[in-house]
Structure formats: structure tokens, C-alpha cells
């Protein structure tokens, strides 16, 4: 099988370094959004793993995905500090607002809802991460506002 030039370019910094598979998987997702079946067979060749071993690694980690995901990933922290700040209620509010259950993606591929355990923003819970940005003292309104203008809304 001939590796696509694009993938070859993505993988090239990692094939010769020790333990390069994890950074390679991150790089594929950063560039392509998810890890496809074709990617798996190409990864197996590049890293001298069996395809089963590659899938083994991918499926162990929450961050890696085998299917396309929403353009915006909303991760709601459900760990203890946020529990003390009613994160369960927030999850249920957000879930009904977007009409999505956990790990579901909206049909327009705009939003995926996920849970996460600790964003290190425990002092200002409940915390939510939208893509790479953390929102403290999160409310459904703040989340909607953030999605609208990609800016943390300062006012309730």
C-alpha cells in the first residue's frame, strides 16, 4: 500500500522518534479531524505495528476517535469540585438545550457534547471547555455566547 503524501508528511516527524505513535495520532487528528481506517493501515506500516495494535492504542484513550466529530467540542467537567458547583444540573441543561446526549454530535456536525474529569479550573467551577478554551463559572448562557462570538462573555 502506498501512503498518501499528505499523511506521510504528517507522520514524518514521529516515525523515527521513540514512542512516536501517540504524537502521531494527535497530529493526524489535528490535521484530519479523526483517524480513518486507511490511516490505521498506514500507521501500522509506518510504526511496524499490527493494525490491531494501532486500534488497541486508539480505543484506550478518550481523545482519539475513529469517526468525524463536531466542529466545536463542548466538554463539561463532571469531577468532584465541579460536582460541588452543580455540574450535573448544568450538564442536563446544556444537554436539553442542544438536544444532545453525552458523546453525541449534532446532525450538522457543529457540536459534540462530552464529559471530562477535571480541567484544573476547580477554583471557578463548574468548568466547561469549548475546543481549547476553558469557561469558568459556566452557565448555558455563557456557553451559547461563547459559541456565538468565540469570546468569553463577561456578563451574565
Amino acid at each position: 500500500m502506498i501512503m498518501s503524501t499528505n499523511l506521510k508528511k504528517i507522520l514524518s516527524p514521529f516515525v523515527d522518534i521513540k514512542g512516536g505513535l501517540m504524537p502521531a495520532l494527535h497530529a493526524i487528528q489535528d490535521h484530519l479531524g479523526f483517524i480513518s481506517k486507511d490511516n490505521i493501515s498506514e500507521l501500522a506500516i509506518a510504526f511496524n505495528y499490527s493494525q490491531a495494535e494501532i486500534i488497541d492504542v486508539i480505543t484506550f484513550y478518550d481523545d482519539f476517535r475513529l469517526e468525524p466529530i463536531g466542529k466545536n467540542i463542548i466538554k463539561l467537567c463532571q469531577a468532584e469540585a465541579c460536582q460541588s458547583q452543580n455540574c450535573k444540573q448544568l450538564l442536563s441543561d446544556v444537554s436539553s438545550h442542544f438536544n444532545l446526549n453525552l458523546n453525541e454530535t449534532s446532525s450538522d456536525l457543529n457540536i459534540t457534547l462530552k464529559e471530562v474529569f477535571c480541567l484544573g479550573n476547580c477554583a471557578l467551577g463548574p468548568s466547561v471547555m469549548i475546543n481549547d478554551e476553558v469557561i469558568g463559572e459556566a452557565t448555558t448562557k455563557k456557553i451559547i455566547g461563547h459559541l456565538k462570538n468565540h469570546k468569553i462573555q463577561n456578563n451574565e
Binding site: F60, A79, Q83, C118, L119, G120, N121, A123, V134, I152
Partner: protein
Amino acid sequence: MNKAIKIFIPNETSANSVGAQYIYEVISKLINKNNVEIIRNSTWGAFWLEPYIEIEKEGIRRGVSYRNIDLSDLTTIEDFLIDFNEREPFDIQSIDFIKKQKRLVFSRIGHHDPLDIQCYKNTKGYKPLLNSLKIGPQETINAIKKSGLTGRGGAAFPTGIKMQTVFDQDSSIKYLACNADEGDGGTFSDRLVMESDPFSLIEGMTIAAYAVGASKGYIYLRSEYPLAKTFLLKAIEIAVENNFLGKNIQNSGFDFNIDLRIGAGSYVCGEETAMMESIEGRRGLVRSKPPLPAISGLFKKPTLINNVVTLATIPMLLDSDEDEFSKIGSNKSVGTMPFQLSGNIKHSGLIETRFDISLEELVRDFGSGTKSGNPIHAIQIGGPLGIYLSSSMLNTSLTIEALQELKGSIGHGGIIVFDNTVDMADQAKFAMEFCVKESCGKCTPCRIGSVRGVEIIDRLQKNKTSVNDAKLLNDLCETMESTSLCAMGGMTPNPIRSIIEFFPNELIQK
């Protein structure tokens, strides 16, 4: 050239999460004068004040909390300066929350731009490394042994002894792995080091690597910390440019490089052997010990593994002028501990202090009680594997030894406060649910026991008086404790046992 007016706007996850980044974007658009400059400093760790904006003028620095304040009406920088002055600016270093702390490891946070290496050097930075390079590896290890420093990641193993073990291995290749997979709910001290004083971690790693003879270091950072990643990458680059990393560091003949590796959302990868599996490019399955990582670790080579705060503490122990650190505390609880106060608490944040502070002092004097105004009901100490204490136990001292006596652990120093709306049976169930989600799956008691645990607690929530289920839960806890390879399965029972013991009739009724 120094500008006449400096505006400090923190660039740190928590501050940004409540608007610091937004304020930065607003104010930077207003600046048209060349006598005003913005400095993105780090947080002071008093998170209830964030975004805390400061202005320095004529050598005097004062700040204001801009929480929930709309700045969209401002049209000029003068508007902002007037608005700022009307809000009664104060010196954050004069408030009790900061003044009453003993900030040694976190002495730099808040003051400067954390990526300004000159500021780092002006505040004793890199003097310890030069000192270490002068006295040599064994003397460096001796200094760390003498300090009494124990690992701040949870296990509290003496750091100097671990280093000696790695040093003593006869191997031409050795590694240093920094565990930055700070996954415990309620903890953020590692993140603060990486975002707010990254050079202290890099310097600590360099000293540790030199001492044990490692020429390659890894930082295993959790993916939930993207801003820490940005700071670390830049700090590593700056350290290389200044010959504090790379080849022949400061003409010592010592070579050392750091590679940043990002995790992928697995809690168990914070366990050191699972972390090594992950760095090597596999599932994060726990390894059995022995061999100890110090003897055969990463890629089967001797490896020194420490968490972020431990490594960031090392430089001050090599500063020949002071040994303030080791004068504090006793036994394993020597030095300061960065407690992280969070949850339902008015004044949340980082509190670096002596270990033997009481819970009372921490939650009342520093924390000022619950955010909701309701009475405190429970306090969880040390992350998801930590015990819950009841409101009648506030006189508990937070030393490593005192927590061990209560069959708990100070862990990573996370303190989470719950008010009286908490359902302790739910918290017990969460301990098992978390284990179901995060178990690596290697040991049956952890992988399957946790599933059975959720079921038993489910039944107990319907019938607290079931003698059978109470006994079954106790047996299950015992099995998990004694037959799991790592702390994930072995310590998941801790919070549950503490709820049974310290919260009578809330999970099990006798």
C-alpha cells in the same frame, strides 16, 4: 525602555476562564500611547478575584477585580484608567489570603511575565543550576536528601533516595520523566507551575537530570491543559536559546533536552508505570513492580520520575544561601505544601503553607466559608482516591502522617469543599463510577469490582439498612485494596470507607 504605565493582565487558564483574555483584547485595542504597556503576568492564585488587573505607576502597583464587569463602553485608554481608579485599587500582597501564605515554590507567580527569562534570573533563577553544576551530581543529591523533600504527587517518597537509586545504576542511558498528568479532581498546582513559572520546572528538571546522569527528559502533559502546553513549548525554546537546555549547558559539558509529550484523556496515565507505557506509544496499562522505574523504567532504562511541583521545588534546595524550606515541618511533611482550595468555597485558590495547618484554618481563615452560604458538610482531600472528612473534623492537621492515620492521603494537595446539599451516597457511588471509567483494565478487582461496586451502592441508595449489601461492599473494598496492582483499584475504596465511617447513616444505616 520602561513605560510609564504598566497594565498587568494575567494570562492563565482560570483567569482567562472568567474574562482575563477578553479584557486583554479590549484594552490592547485602546492603547495608542507609547507610555502605556500591557504585561501578561501570571495569576496570583487568588482565583475568586480573577480577572485581577493591576496597574503600576511611579513604582506603585495596585489592582482591581474585574469579575463580571462589562468594558465594552470604554472608548479610550483614559476611560479605562479612570474606571480603574474609581474601583479602589489595592495591593494584593497586603491581603491576608496572600500575606498569610508561605510562598517558596510559588514565590514568583503573579509578579511577572512567566516567559521573561531575565525576570526569572533576577529572582534567583538559574543560580541553583550553576551551583549544582559546580558541586557535582553526588553533592546535589546529598543536598536534596538533606532537605527532606518528599514527592508531591501523592506517594510522598523521599526524593533524594529515589535520585540516589537512579544515580547508582550503571547505565549509559538514563531518562527523566516529569509526570504532568495532573488528573485528580480539585488540583491545579502543577498547571500553575507550568503556566506561571515554567522555568522553575525546566531548571528543576535540568538539575535532577544532571544529578542522576540523564541526558533526555520527557514531560508527560495531560491534554486537558492546552495553555500549559503553549507555555512549556515557549519556555523550552527560550531555555535552549539561552543555553540552559541543549548541548554543553553553561559550558559544563552536560547535555540535556526535554521532549513534551501530550496525553490523551486517560486518568490512569498519571500512574507512573501507565505513564511510561503511554510515552512508549502503547495503551496506558499499569506495569507490575518490581522492577522499579529507577532501575528499569522508560524504554527499559533507569528512569527518574517525579511530578511537576516536586521538580520545581528542587532549585531552591540548591540555593546555597538559604535553606528556609527544610526548616519548616517534620518527618515526611517537611517544607511547604501547595494546597488547592476549591469547590463550594468563597475564596478559592492556591495556598502554599506549612503542612500542619488545620483544615479549619484552611477553609475558614483562607477560604472564608462556603460560596453558597450553607454550612460545610464534607471536605474531600487528595483527589478522587482521597477521603471525605465531615464538618466535625475540621481540627484535622493536614500533614502526610495525620492523613495516613485517617486511612487517607494528602495526595496532590487538593481540598474540595461541599455544602449540606451534597448527597454522600452519590459521592460514594461516583468513586466507583470513576473507577469504572478510568480503570486501565489490567486487574480484575478494579475492572469488574468497580462495576459491582456501583451496583451495590445503587441498591444501598434504595435500602440503607441492607446488612447483606453493607457486608458485600466491605468485602469488595477489601478485595480491591489487597489485589490491585496500583492505587487506582487499591485506593478507590478510600473515599467509600471514609463515607461509611465519618458520615454514619448517609450511605449505610446500622
